[in-house]
Symmetry: C2
Subunit: 246 residues, 2 copies
C-alpha cells in the first residue's frame, strides 16, 4: 500500500470520489480512507447506506439528493456547501455513485472548486456497467463481435425518450452499448435503437439496483424488451452481441 | 462492510479480478481480500509490484505475461493453470490490470471455466480511462459537448495502425473517445481519426503509465500530437472537447 492511498482527508480540501455502484466491497481503498477521515460528507441519492455506515462516527453527513424526502438541492447549493465547509477548515468528501467523471456534473463542480481556489483530489470509482457485467459474468467487449464499448445516456424530451442527442449516422455493428439513466420508457428507447440500425435480435439486459441485494435482471433482445419486466431505478442497460446472460 | 466482500478465497474457486491501473489505492476492497487470501495468483504483465506485494506471503505467484523476460504463455496455457491448480484444491486469483471484462480475453477464460465446471467470481476494476481522467481532473462527459463516451482499441494491420475495425459512418460529434492499446504510431492514428471526421483541433491527451510514479502526459490536439512526445507503453488516449487539461 503506498503512503498516498492511506492519507487522511486534509483540512480545507475537497475530495470528489466515486463510491461505485452500491456494494461496499467495490469501494476503492482510497475511497475508504477518505470516508473514514472526512469531516463533512456530501453524498448523492444513490450512495448506499452500507457505504455511509463506513464514515467516521463524528462525520457530518449532508445528503445532497432527493433522499429522505428533502427538496432537491441545486448544483449551486452543492458548490456553496463545499465552499462554506472548507472555509471553516473542514475536509469535505463529495461522494458520487459510480465514477464521478461520467454523466455527473463533475465539470461544473471542478470549475467551482478552481474558481474558489479550493484544493481538491478526484478518486475514480467503479461505474455500474462494469459491476453489472461482472455479476452477469459476461464480457463487455469481444475480439470477434464487439471491439468498441459505448456509454450513452437517455433523456426525456417532448414526451419521448431518446438518446442524448440522437445517434447520427450508422451505428457501429461491432459495439456494445451501455445506457445509463434510460428513464422508464424502455420499449420506446429500444424502438429508437432499432430505428438507428441496431438489429432487433441484439441481446439486451436491463439491470435494476445493480450490486445491491434488490438487484433485478431482465434479459431479452431489443425486440422483446418489455417495460413491465424492468425493475425500479436506477437501471443500466447493456446491449450487444458480446452480452451473454446464461 | 458486508460479509461477502470480506470472504476469503475459497478452495477450488477461480477469481477473475480487475487490479485497476496500478496504484494500490485504486484496488477495490473485494480485490484486496482476495489478494490476501488466494493460494495461487496469475497476474498479467501490467499488474504492478506494489499490488503483488499485498498478496499472502505464502501465495504462489505465477506471472502469465511477458514480464521477467519469460516467453509469453498462451491463452490455453492460462486455462491449463487455472484447471490444474483448482483441481488440487487451491484458490486461484486471475489478476488483470484495469477491468477484467474490457479489451481482455475474458470471454475465452469464462468459457474455459464454465466448460471445466470450475466455480468462479468476477470482480470489476477501475479501467485506466477513469484513473487518467481523475488525475488530470477532467470530466469524461459534458452535458453540452460530450454525451457519449466511446472506448476503442487500435491494432496494427499491414504496417498501419487503425481502429479495430475502422469507424464506419460519421463519427458522433458529441463524444469523448478513449483509445486503449493505441500502439506506437500515434500520428497515423490521429490522421485516421481526422479522416473519420473528428475535427483536427479536438483536444487529445496521451497518458503513459497512468497512476504510477512514472506517469507521463502529452496534451495536444489531434493535429499537433507528436509520436516522440508520448511516453512508453502502456498508453491510453483521451480525445474530445470535454477533455480539458490545464
Amino acid at each position: 500500500m503506498n503512503a498516498h492511498s492511506q492519507d487522511e482527508a486534509q483540512p480545507g480540501h475537497v475530495y470528489l470520489v466515486g463510491a461505485g455502484p452500491g456494494d461496499p466491497g467495490l469501494l476503492t481503498l482510497r475511497a475508504l480512507a477518505l470516508l473514514q477521515t472526512s469531516d463533512v460528507i456530501l453524498p448523492d441519492d444513490l450512495v448506499s447506506d452500507e457505504i455511509l455506515a463506513l464514515a467516521s462516527p463524528t462525520a457530518n453527513i449532508i445528503p445532497v439528493g432527493k433522499r429522505c424526502g428533502q427538496p432537491r438541492i441545486t448544483q449551486a447549493g452543492i458548490h456553496d456547501l463545499m465552499r462554506e465547509h472548507t472555509a471553516e477548515g473542514s475536509s469535505v468528501l463529495r461522494l458520487k455513485s459510480g465514477d464521478p467523471l461520467v454523466f455527473g456534473r463533475a465539470g461544473e463542480e471542478i470549475a467551482a472548486l478552481r474558481e474558489a481556489n479550493i484544493p481538491f483530489e478526484i478518486v475514480p470509482g467503479i461505474s455500474a456497467a462494469f459491476a453489472v457485467a461482472a455479476e452477469l459474468q459476461t464480457p463487455l467487449t469481444d475480439r470477434s463481435s464487439a471491439s468498441k464499448l459505448i456509454f450513452a445516456t437517455a433523456h426525456h424530451a417532448a414526451g419521448k425518450l431518446e438518446l442524448t442527442p440522437k445517434w447520427t449516422g450508422a451505428f457501429p455493428e461491432d459495439a456494445t452499448l451501455v445506457i445509463y439513466m434510460p428513464g422508464r420508457n424502455f420499449r420506446a428507447l429500444a424502438d429508437d435503437l432499432i430505428a438507428s440500425g441496431i438489429p432487433a435480435n441484439t441481446p439486451c439486459v436491463a439491470v435494476s439496483k445493480a450490486s445491491t441485494p434488490e438487484e433485478h435482471v431482465h434479459a431479452s433482445t431489443l425486440a422483446t424488451l418489455e417495460d413491465a419486466a424492468v425493475g425500479p431505478a436506477p437501471v443500466v442497460m447493456l446491449i450487444g452481441h458480446a452480452i451473454q446472460v446464461t
